[in-house]
């Protein structure tokens, strides 16, 4: 089946490609990364740009739209999945070697070209770091194309911080880069910052001059971060964020993920704040 399907992804967009889970990494108590590649070991079912998504399915159970990470020369796709419901529960139970279905890539992705030459301010909460991480890695890979990089990340507790190795070890070592991490409540062994992301952001106050802020996280965090950015002088065309809606098809057909006349699966999930302001206030 997989053989027949190859090269036909566009002709049958709703039919997944069967791939093999080659590695599973626990990111937090409720986030796992699944690394997948073609069952014959020949690499990727498809390529993705930073910010794009893929449908991952545990075939006998269901499908979910998940932010997908891939970089040039990487022989696998990574899906960082948070356990939130029935399907993701089942996914968290699978083991290395499991065959799963994937389809994609879906969505517009981040405007990596348009951001060239800018200082980048990445602001994330919880699992929201997963899509931003693709963009962050892209910036490091093309370091000379971007200015100063500031990463502000928070989660409920230290255990809930995703991608710790990158946060605490790899990224801070990159040129002209600062990484700030915060958790919501104090913990005995935590000597870092404590507090919510929007407040921390205002305290750090990265300058809007020549900068673009990219925001991703729980809707409530996004809402307050957008307010903070506005206060700090960021214009609507300097702020980029991502929207979330329930999805089924991923290709703009099944109807449910719309906000106004936009289908988030197809036209989104990435929007400049100035675009969002044109949409009905349902986000």
């Amino acid at each position: 089946m997989n053989e027949a399907k190859k090269g036909m992804a566009i002709e049958q967009p709703l039919i997944p490609t069967v791939v093999e889970v080659i590695d599973i990494v626990d990111r937090t108590p409720d986030v796992k990364s699944f690394f997948v590649r073609n069952t014959d070991g020949s690499g990727l079912p498809f390529q993705v740009q930073p910010g794009q998504c893929g449908m991952i399915s545990h075939l006998p159970v269901g499908e979910a739209m998940i932010s997908c990470t891939w970089q040039e020369e990487q022989e696998y796709l990574e899906f960082a999945v948070k356990r939130v419901g029935l399907l993701t529960d089942e996914l968290h139970r699978i083991e290395i070697g499991q065959k799963v279905g994937v389809r994609g890539p879906y969505g517009n992705g981040f405007p990596v070209e348009a951001c060239k030459g800018k200082d980048m301010v990445f602001i994330a909460g919880g699992i929201g770091l997963a899509p931003l991480r693709s963009f962050i890695k892209h910036c490091f890979k093309h370091r000379q194309d971007y200015g100063k990089i500031t990463i502000i990340y928070g989660s409920r507790s230290s255990a809930d911080l995703c991608f710790k190795e990158e946060l605490f070890d790899l990224w801070p070592r990159e040129q002209d880069t600062q990484v700030f991490v915060t958790i919501d409540n104090p913990e005995p062994d935590w000597d870092g910052h404590v507090g919510f992301v929007p407040a921390y952001l205002e305290e750090l106050a990265p300058s809007p001059e020549g900068a673009v802020a990219v925001v991703c996280g729980p809707p409530i965090m996004i809402k307050f971060v957008l307010q903070s950015l506005e206060k700090m002088g960021y214009a609507d065309d300097q702020v980029i964020t991502t929207l979330e809606m329930r999805m089924k098809c991923g290709i703009g057909k099944c109807g449910r993920c719309n906000i106004g006349s936009e289908f988030i699966c197809l036209d989104g999930p990435v929007y400049y704040l100035e675009q969002l302001r044109q949409l009905p206030a349902e986000w």
């Binding site: 997989n2 290709i251 703009g252 006349s261």
Partner: protein, 337 residues
């Protein structure tokens, strides 16, 4: 002009039915809709070519209420997709009204354009022919002309038939239409025809400017009033010729099973409920507003035409007397700051 004498209608349907699956408007017990002519039983079914409109639209021919997508074999770690179920068998819709043809054209836009082509819809639609039945005497709830439909010469029809009393004037409009016309060789006659004259519409609807006006009415109090009676039963979406939203689900019987899709409704709470429990359209009013804005504004913005074709079905079936014609009127008359 070619004509089909009504005395030869049954024979014609039989001939067409031998070449493709033919769907005709039929009253079957308490149901009416487009059913396969091959299942027609005179003692149970009544042919309803004159009705405006049968309860169900013919959308099920191109978008079945449930449709299998692909087969799954699941043996622990080993999982595979063993077959896909695109259905390309030839079909013909006989007697669709202009509003229903427009409904299918709207679905063509959704399923066949904007980046992705839906292989299931495409397989059915590519092999589907439409014989439309021209409307000269609109029903009490019809307002198709207000929604960009020509009831006498509907765009999208492969053949148009005109009811002239004892016979149907038969007019092939496309290559597909010519092909089915050829199937009826020997049954169609040539005749000088006098087409009926069109009667006026009983329901007056003015959609001019409504899509533009709605852009500034998302938070208007009109939605509270209008949505108040709605019980979110979804009947309006079920009978609508252009409501196309679907759900995707899986069914497993032990190691084997399949993924399928099924009509869904924006009126249902589950429709937009997220895995984590949140719901951007959790309130009844929000879902109601979504349905009517999708019909009257959003679809127009995206595809350049409204998603309501003026068939009047939702007006008839709604148990709480929600009426899209009244909603259009209310929008027209509403004051917007």
């Amino acid at each position: 002009m070619k004509v089909l004498n009504k005395s030869k209608l049954i024979e014609a349907l039989n001939v067409l039915s031998s070449q493709q699956e033919v769907f005709v408007p039929i009253q079957r017990e308490s149901q009416s809709g487009y059913f396969s002519w091959a299942d027609y039983q005179p003692e149970r079914d009544e042919l309803m070519l004159e009705a405006l409109n049968v309860y169900q639209s013919p959308k099920n021919v191109v978008l079945p209420q449930t449709e299998r997508m692909y087969g799954i074999i699941s043996q622990g770690m080993e999982v595979d997709i063993d077959q896909t179920f695109e259905d390309a068998h030839p079909t013909l819709i006989f007697g669709a009204r202009g509003c229903d043809v427009k409904g299918i054209l709207a679905m063509d836009e959704v399923f066949l354009t904007r980046g992705f082509v839906d292989s299931f819809y495409q397989a059915r639609r590519a092999n589907n022919t439409i014989v439309a039945n021209a409307c000269y005497a609109p029903g009490p709830n019809c307002f198709c002309t207000a929604m960009e439909v020509d009831p006498v010469e509907p765009v999208g029809a492969d053949v148009i038939i005109h009811d002239c009393g004892d016979y149907y004037a038969w007019e092939a409009r496309t290559g597909k239409g010519e092909a089915v016309t050829a199937q009826l060789d020997g049954l169609l006659e040539d005749k000088e025809v006098k087409l009926p004259s069109a009667q006026p519409f009983q329901l007056q609807v003015d959609y001019q400017g409504v899509a533009e006006k709605l852009k500034d009415m998302f938070d208007h109090s009109l939605w509270d009033q209008m949505a108040e009676p709605c019980i979110n039963c979804g009947m309006c979406t079920y009978v609508c010729p252009s409501c196309y939203c679907f759900d995707i689900q899986v069914k497993m019987f032990g190691e084997k099973g399949y993924r399928f899709r099924a009509w869904d409704s924006c009126m249902f709470e589950e429709y937009t409920r997220e895995a984590g429990g949140g719901n951007p359209r959790g309130a009844s009013k929000e879902r109601f507003r979504q349905r009517f804005l999708h019909k009257l504004e959003f679809f127009q913005e995206r595809y350049g035409t409204p998603l309501c074709t003026g068939c009047g079905r939702c007006i008839i079936v709604c148990p709480t007397d929600v009426n899209i014609a009244r909603i259009i009127k209310a929008v027209k008359e509403a004051e917007v700051e």
